[in-house]
């Protein structure tokens, strides 16, 4: 109960505030948690892949949010685009990863005639 209050109080407090970096971070966190839950709950492999996309993009939102000019220190010499560049890398990697993961899924379907990840327990110890 106390833990719930401790989390809930600042989150709900944000609603009354003007939009800031913290709001982006909350959105990113919600996306991340949704992605994690999707990965952990979905039995369909494609659903799992979607969860992964959510996780990655939640992280991307965070990167971009942390790149906010409000967070730059005085006299910073950077272009202030670090977060955006990293987000671009992540998108790139996500594309590559999706290609590989889809190929694995396709192969898995060929072998098992299903995309249920619960059936993918061949590596069981």
């Amino acid at each position: 109960m106390t833990l719930g209050l401790a989390v809930a109080t600042p989150v709900f407090g944000l609603i009354t505030q003007p939009v800031s970096v913290a709001h982006y971070l909350v959105v990113g966190a919600i996306m991340f948690v949704c992605g994690i839950v999707c990965m952990a709950m979905k039995r369909n492999a494609l659903g799992v892949l979607m969860g992964i996309e959510l996780v990655l993009n939640g992280a991307n939102v965070n990167f971009v949010a942390f790149a906010s000019p409000y967070l730059q220190g005085e006299g910073s010499r950077s272009l202030g685009l670090d977060g955006q560049v990293i987000a671009l890398f992540v998108i790139l990697l996500a594309a590559a990863e999706a290609a590989v993961a889809l190929a694995i899924t396709l192969n898995f379907y060929n072998n098992h005639a299903t995309v249920d990840v619960d059936r993918a327990d061949d590596l069981k110890g």
Binding site: M39, A40, K124, G125
Partner: protein, 812 residues
Amino acid sequence: MDLSTQLPQLLGLAWLMPLASFVLILFFGPKMGHHGRNAAWVATAAIVTSLVLSLVAFVSWLGAHPVSAGHHGGDHGAAHAEDHADAAGHVAGEHGSDAWHAAGGHAAAGHGPIAYSGDWYTLYEGGRLRLSIGWYIDSLTILMFVVVTFIATCIHVYASGYMHDELHDVTDHEVTLTDGHHLHRPGRFPRFFQALSLFCFSMLGIVIAGNLAMVFIFWELVGICSWFLIGFYYERKSASNAANKAFIVNRVGDFGMLIGLMALWGALGTLQFADSSVPGADGHAVTKPGLFSLVRPADHGHALRVPDGMVEFAAAEKVAHTPPAEVAGKVDAWRAEGFGRWLLFIAGVGIFCGCVGKSAQFPLFVWLPDAMEGPTPVSALVHSATMVAAGVYLVGRFFPVLTPDVLLVIAYVGAITLFIAATIALVANDIKRVLAYSTVSQLGYMMLALGVGGWAAGLFHLVTHAFFKSLLFLCSGSVIHACHTNDMRKMGGLARVMPYTAGTMLVGCLAIIGAGIPFVIGLSGYYSKDSILAQALSFAQANPRHTILFYAVAGGAALTAFYMFRLWFMTFAGEPRDHHVAEHAHESPQVMVMPLLVLAVLAVVAGWTLPGGFGIANLLEQSRPAGTVETAVGGFAFGQTLTIPAEHLSHGEPFHSTATWTAFATALGGVLLAAAMYVWRVISPAAVAAMFRPVYSFLANRWYFDELYHALFVVPAHGLAAVASGIDQGLIDPFINFLAWTTRQVAGIDAWIDRTFVDGLVNATANATWTLGNELKRLQTGSLRQYVTFIVVGTVALFVIASLFFRQALAG
């Protein structure tokens, strides 16, 4: 080609051929045809090549030094001087490699022998010791080469027939295993010819040797070969015992020989027979005098003289108190006092000791009859051309160094041997044993002949004996081959079924007893035995105290005739005594008969002197050691002066005719007695044996020599061995066992610690790891969703832990 380079090459090659055959058969023997059948061809080819090379050497020798009668004059001076001139131009042979004595007819006492010597290879050189493989070639060497290779050839041919049993698996009926069966073993055909080849090589090595060290090397090789061959059927207890006996008895003699070698080397610093040329301090070749010229210096008329080295060695105390510069001048005075003469005596007797062992002289003759355990071709080879001949040959070769006292020892040893062996042969019933004792007896003859100064007579008898004794042995082998028994009491009447064997054996018997028409013609033994008798008579006349030596020779001749014809009559004459044996008997195959015929011819003619003077006796005269042409007087060891009469005196009257008649009469008497007992049966052998029962059993038990030696040497040796073994088992073994027990206990404790603690720790670790792994395995469910959950939970947990426990650090 120059004779001094040609002869060593020819004879060296002839010497090495059997070695090549030995090596070939050693490595490839079993692959030579079925069961190594072709090994016989390899060995025979090698020995035939040796024979041909020896004959070539013989012919070239005759071409350069024609043999003629009346050799005692100075007529060889010219030929000799010419040889010497040859030597000057001969690079490898250096100065001393030719005739070892400076120039023929130079000294008053007469000419030296024609001899070539030199070294092929120096084995070792250090201090005063120089060991080399070299040659000393004179007519005796060449003659021995021809005889040895010839007889060996005959024996090789004969053995390739005789040993055919070894070509397939053999069941040895004389060996019973513990399970009651007879021994069954693979044939050993190649092994036999391998040993035979090595035997020939060793014997030829002794003959060609240029120094005593080399003689000794090959002497021992001959010993080991005899061990191989006598013990050929080594599964038989008797054969392995006989082989050991031959080897050990020979070692006893060789010990004496070593003493002799040390006496010579220690005092004289050389073992070379002839003068040799060695690199001096300044690099120029220096002539180093050999034994012969040290003992018989040319400037002393080749008369025997104690060498300076021995005098100084014996008078070492006086030398120590004399200024070095004056030593040389006083040597003659010391020599006159008698210093060194004992050393020379010991050297001679020592070398003779080796010959006693090898040539089966009293008291070391006991091995030879036992050596009959070997296959018969081996007996033939051992008894004629190799092994026993080596001893007589060495005495002949070493003759110039032997003092009159040593010669007297040799003569008496020979006389005793000849008498003992002849008496034992009278009653022996084993055909090979009769021949064995006859060999011992004949060797006694040779030694006696050498001992009384009959250098040529002794060696002449060695050669003629080689022919007829190998003939007799091969004949006996043929008989044994036919009858499958050695016992003469089971034979008889074999002349009808084995005409060739009977005829050739009769020739052999006639030759060994010296049959002939007095003064006209005779078989080979007639000439050699007569010359021995004549020399013994001459010696007896010069030294009346030693007349007994002549009686020994004459009595021995009668005994020889008796036992040889007893053998022949019992085997071939009369009616068969055992029908079982007689039915089986058959003439031997041609490959065995041919050597018999060839040897029979030689047993007849070997002693003849052709009208031109060519003959073995005259050939030997070419090698007569310098200084033995004249009658020699000397002797100190036995408190009396000995006269060694010159040998040519014995060819004259009255010795010659007396000796001839004595030999004829004694031989005839022996033959007639044998005929009376075994053919006409006028006298019953059994009655005679009964009448002289003690004597008969004494002889039948071989004078109890084996028992005597058993009691004197074997039993104490066994006792000593038992004591040693008692100490070993009662004292040393318990101590060692205690040490072992202690070590074992300590090791037990160590093992317990190891198992309990070290292993326990390792096992516990392994177990823990194993259990942990098993537990953790359950987490690996393979379910992706679960993994994701774990990752999330884990990450959150890490954050929680970090925020709870590392708050300070995070804040910091």
